[in-house]
Symmetry: D2
Subunit: 439 residues, 4 copies
């Protein structure tokens, strides 16, 4: 369910000790800030097996630093609590047995307050050692591990918000995580088809700089002539699909998707509900009327594919999205503006607006893009040795790549080569899509 962990050579900036220490503290602080609005009860709940409690995210991201950095690098480090090693391992078989994932919500002990103590203990311990480590010969490796831990924790920041949204949605009171609900525009650019030319290109992470190992090796890929929509599919467009009987027509669906629709009696995306006064959507700001200009979110691959079939189009392949993203970046030389045009951050996708000269909007920063690409190893991919790398290829089966990044992806976390992945049926992520077609 989450990206694989493996470091690549770092950029020179991050090798500077102070910069890394600042980044480390900023990430650690931000996670606590995200949990701050939540009660001990909120932080306890696991609403389905895919969801982890907030408390678990707080503890597991701390366990990562304790296990792979403090314990590994410093024999004098005193572990906070030996039991936590069993409780807060996620899926690292090499680290031994662990508490079963579907039972994370059953751990009332340690309480939230103790988990916060654990966080401070580990943050302080890493912070106190960074200066000394910077003198060591293996500092590049250490720095890479710390950066990896920061990226790992940023993933859990997004999951924390994604998961607590699901938790709160299960309460008939529909409580919000934040308020007030930010106002949003109603006018968006018309969708146009943007051409992807035929030819050989390269995709995948180009070092230096951090990336997860599944983003490499960089390699050649042949692009086929195609066109990509200039913007994401909106809620309003999906409403047309619904009103045209989309959820009742087996001819539009993948076979597995149709089984899913029938067995679950689905008639609308996750978090949509038809109230007396019209369609509403559950958001991190509680239940709200749907803005028909905003990007569609919380659909699964089955729904995305059915809509594309209905629209006479298809889902893009991951190389098409990476190509378009890089091309846009080159055009405007403004990655950050592309990635996160919104300030202050919104916890719900904004309607599209044009930024700069790129023909595309929201290739990042709104919702993850489902792709037609099954999640698999790039040519030449190799699993790294040891616990951190053990599972590099372990999830490369029956999952699909999502590209871009969403409104809840941390600002510094994303890059154009980023490969997120989830099973085709997953809806609870901030996932939408844009259309593609062959020409």
């Amino acid at each position: 369910m989450q990206n694989l962990n493996q470091s690549r050579p770092l950029s020179p900036a991050l090798l500077e000790q102070q910069a890394l220490a600042d980044r480390f503290l900023a990430v650690r602080t931000q996670t606590q800030a995200l949990a701050a609005p939540l009660s001990a009860e909120d932080a306890q709940i696991q609403s389905m097996p895919d969801v982890s409690p907030t408390k678990w995210h707080l503890a597991h991201s701390t366990w990562f630093f304790e296990t792979f950095i403090l314990k590994a690098l410093d024999a004098t480090y005193k572990i906070f609590d030996a039991d936590f090693h069993f409780l807060f391992n996620s899926y690292y078989e090499a680290e031994g047995p662990r508490h079963p994932r579907p039972q994370r919500g059953l751990l009332s002990r340690p309480p939230l307050s103790q988990v916060l103590d654990y966080r401070h203990h580990v943050t302080d311990a890493v912070n106190a050692r960074i200066e000394g480590w910077a003198d060591r010969e293996d500092w590049p490796d250490i720095a890479a591990l710390i950066e990896l831990g920061c990226h790992h924790e940023e993933q859990h920041q997004e999951l924390l918000l994604t998961d607590i949204k699901h938790v709160l949605s299960c309460n008939p009171l529909a409580p919000g995580y934040a308020s007030p609900f930010p106002k949003a525009m109603q006018d968006i650019p018309a969708a146009t088809w943007q051409k992807i030319p035929e030819g050989l290109t390269e995709i995948g992470h180009r070092p230096p700089g951090f990336a997860f190992d599944n983003e490499g090796p960089r390699h050649k890929v042949w692009l086929h002539e195609a066109a990509l929509s200039s913007r994401l599919v909106t809620t309003g467009e999906f409403l047309e699909f619904i009103e045209d009987g989309g959820y009742q027509n087996p001819m539009l669906w993948l076979s597995e998707g149709w089984d899913w629709v029938k067995s679950r009696n689905r008639t609308a995306p996750l978090y949509w509900s038809r109230q007396e006064d019209g369609w509403q959507i559950f958001t991190l700001y509680g239940r709200q009327p749907i803005n028909w200009s905003e990007p569609l979110c919380h659909i699964n691959l089955y729904e995305a594919d059915a809509f594309a079939t209905w629209a006479g189009a298809r889902l893009p392949r991951e190389e098409e999205l990476e190509y378009a993203t890089i091309a846009s970046l080159t055009a405007q030389e403004d990655h950050r503006a592309l990635h996160r045009a919104e300030e202050p951050p919104r916890l719900h996708p904004s309607p599209a607006r044009q930024i700069g000269n790129t023909p595309f909007t929201q290739l990042s920063g709104a919702v993850w893009h489902w792709t037609a690409s099954a999640y698999s190893a790039y040519p030449g991919f190799r699993t790294a040795a040891g616990a951190i790398g053990e599972y590099n290829g372990k999830f490369m089966c029956n999952q699909y790549v999502l590209r871009g990044g969403s409104c809840v992806t941390p600002k510094d976390h994303w890059r154009p080569s980023y490969r997120n992945f989830f099973p085709a049926h997953a809806q609870w992520q901030f996932s939408g899509f844009r259309l593609a077609k062959d020409i």
Copy 2:
């Protein structure tokens, strides 16, 4: 899972307003006292569908008084929160839709603190009105409702302890609810066979005094000559069964029981675990070495029946236990001493000791006795009208009667005609058994 609710004519004592007000406050206070050692996180968790969170028990027992007494009797009463009616109804179809039972653990809101406010609001509101109500013509009915609410809440006191035991047992840290673990004797009386004579007798509640409706009508029943063990089966006796291959021998088990053993790979009772230094048992005091003299607890009907078959005996019928209990009471005229010989109360069953002249020990006060009697209506039983009574017979299918009362049954809650009932597979109650045989 819990006894049906229906009142019977009250005894004169309880019709006295002050006595009833005192009892009401004592019951309400006791529930909060039971929850006091638990954190907000502890009180949140539902570890399986049969278990309810502590917070839910606190709220539901309050909802009962608000719905059936305050709302029903006083149009001026201002309800605490309209949403709670949906959230905290248990299974009263006449009271409209309700939150699904398996999702009680998903309600982080209202928080525990607000549920405690709700409790105080309702307790105060009832208390403020009792004096006035005592002047009304329908006071006997009102008093009966309040007494019913008290008994209902006492049931939830036992369930609160039973459920939190299961919740805490799911944590690998095996935390205790209380401490220290009370010392217990190792010497217990030898088991002897006590005769039940053939003949016509009567069982069932004899008014006045409170009883649930399933305890009546009092009616004739023909006893067959039999013998009943003078004490409960112990953990030590059950260990012999285990060591004799009891869990591996299909000839000892009911057909359903054998399916249960195989599909769950059971080899010992719930809460038993084999540690490096011997058998341990999870208790409300955390994990403890097993005292082989203590009554066996937390087995289901399948396990009880298999042991009885192995021992060449059978489970008693409910009329045999009621007869023995009444006979013992007559002999010593000391119901309370029989019921709860232990002071202070222990939250774990004590080994047997002889009290007075009765030939039996622990017909109450240690563990519930599984019986061979399917839970069914007594001759002449009728369901009362309205919401409180709607479900009188609703659970009379595929459940079995348990008699006696356990160490966690509130002291004033039990009586010899009391019929508890659970499905044959249920293990998480404080349930054991004693042997019977035909002679």
Copy 3:
């Protein structure tokens, strides 16, 4: 799912060798006659785990004679095929491992033709030995075993018809097992309430004569004053329940029953279907219009109990039905007329008609009567030793007693003390009910 097997002292008549040989041959021939209308494909199918293929019934009833009589009594007997011992054991743990019940339909080999050869082989082998055995000292035991085998096979005759009905019902072509559908009356006697007086009585099998062991020991039981309907509930009466919203009203149902209704979306009894031209019922004669005067059949205990609640009545207890049956028999001294008034046999329940002076109709011969009595051991019941008796009590949990016998129960198989039993949810048996009430 089927009655336990254990013999009792036989009546003098059956101890006569020629009479027993005749009975044996008649039973064996009748089973083959029941299978004769079926193709090899029909005889192969297991339409749900509870159902056994016709071929399996043919083989298993033969395995019983081979295992418990031929192999046990005659060391020179050559078994037909050693593999069959594994394939055609039903649930006798003492006889070793066996083919899993839900996979009986997967055995295309041996083919039907070979199973018929097996039948002839075993029938001939028993028949050839009976004369010799009659000279042996243990002849009474042998005769009892043969009689037990005959009764066992008669049970399977009924199951064969019950099961093939379910098999054929799964085919959209709705093929019939027999034809033509016999004409039936539309006029039936009005239902009246017949009193059951209070007092001590005895129930259970009174030797000599064959009975299964669960019918004894004969024992005293106290009857409570009550009334029993003079006839079975009809399809027409159940239609009123349906049209009154019976399947939509939770207040009428046992809690388990309501869960069953909702999870299965039930709105009518098994085998009923609403066609364009009205309600139809699937029968062993194919799909037919429902005769509203015929006894209701193929409902489960939940449906029977819900109807009784709706009608302000209850289900009878098994002792009430046994008492009424014996009383009726005494009045008219005509057991057979009561049992099976129809000639030739119908494979679908007939509407009631009055026979003789008894106030009751169809206490047997139409449909099995669901009772309020959980299936449990009679006082003094003991399991016999050895394989045949091993499971005497094994099914005495979470099943309910059915009394009377149905239109597909073999004529000589039933007696007033007969206790059939099935789980509360079972519908595929020929099961209906009559109302009782307390007075």
Copy 4:
């Protein structure tokens, strides 16, 4: 579960009427020949939802010709039985409702004999019309439909054998479909690594000639430098994996694969069993000792991937296998020799032997090759209109491509561009693999 159906322009040869008529009759006859050794009971059984009864294969392949050719082209055609349209549709939503797939084994009617009549009726009807149709203007379309029907039926010929193998394997008697078990060599060539060069190539079907639509459009793909094993993995090599604890080591498995191993307690491939005298394998010739030189078969993608990880290699991508196949064909210009070197056909994979100069053995004709390629649309793929084409893309989710063809693939059915596909967990197909690695 089966390839999509869509025709492509035919080769000139097949447009000749007599050649097509001959091919049609040969295919129809061959299907009946495959069913000939089976009894009516054998042909009835569906041993799991993925399996279809032999009778159903016989009927469905006939329904295809009746529905898409006879009914579509000739208004005067009298359908054999109107009910069959519902019973024998597989998954064509445009053709209306159909009998549920998991209940195909419940149809004892029509009997096998009537299904054979149905076959003859439809075969004769097509045959009688071919000559007339050849004069029509739309003959090329008609010919393409007939050729499509032939290929569809050839798919079902393979499935018939694959499915009956599973059916017979469920019988403890382990009966064979054929005999005697053909002798096989023990000596096989050593495995060597054969280089795949980097560069642009084309894959996909090149018209004319028949292909399913998922084999096109032919398109460019960039090959990465790699190496491919010269032969398939053998049973003996897999035994080493087993004996090295392969099924016990989570580090070797995909995450989904490890869940599958644990939940199913797998310790060996499907059809392997450890007998007292060593490992045996269930084959279409019954249970046989394993020949350690034969290609591994009946493993799923999880097992293939775990072995590859254990061996320090990976599974090939489909373009690598297609490239190698074409390269080999060019080298020796002997497609048929490559495809099916064995005469007479064996129903169990043969050990490898070298044929001609190609460096590879058994790129076809032994077992299907699992690949690392998720089954997805080729660039430019479009779903054809109408019922035949409706599901072209419908299965392109969570399935993996298998290349080559197996010993039970009909001789004329396979071509190098052929894309078979099954879910990663499927074992019952004749599926194995060969290793690849990056260099």
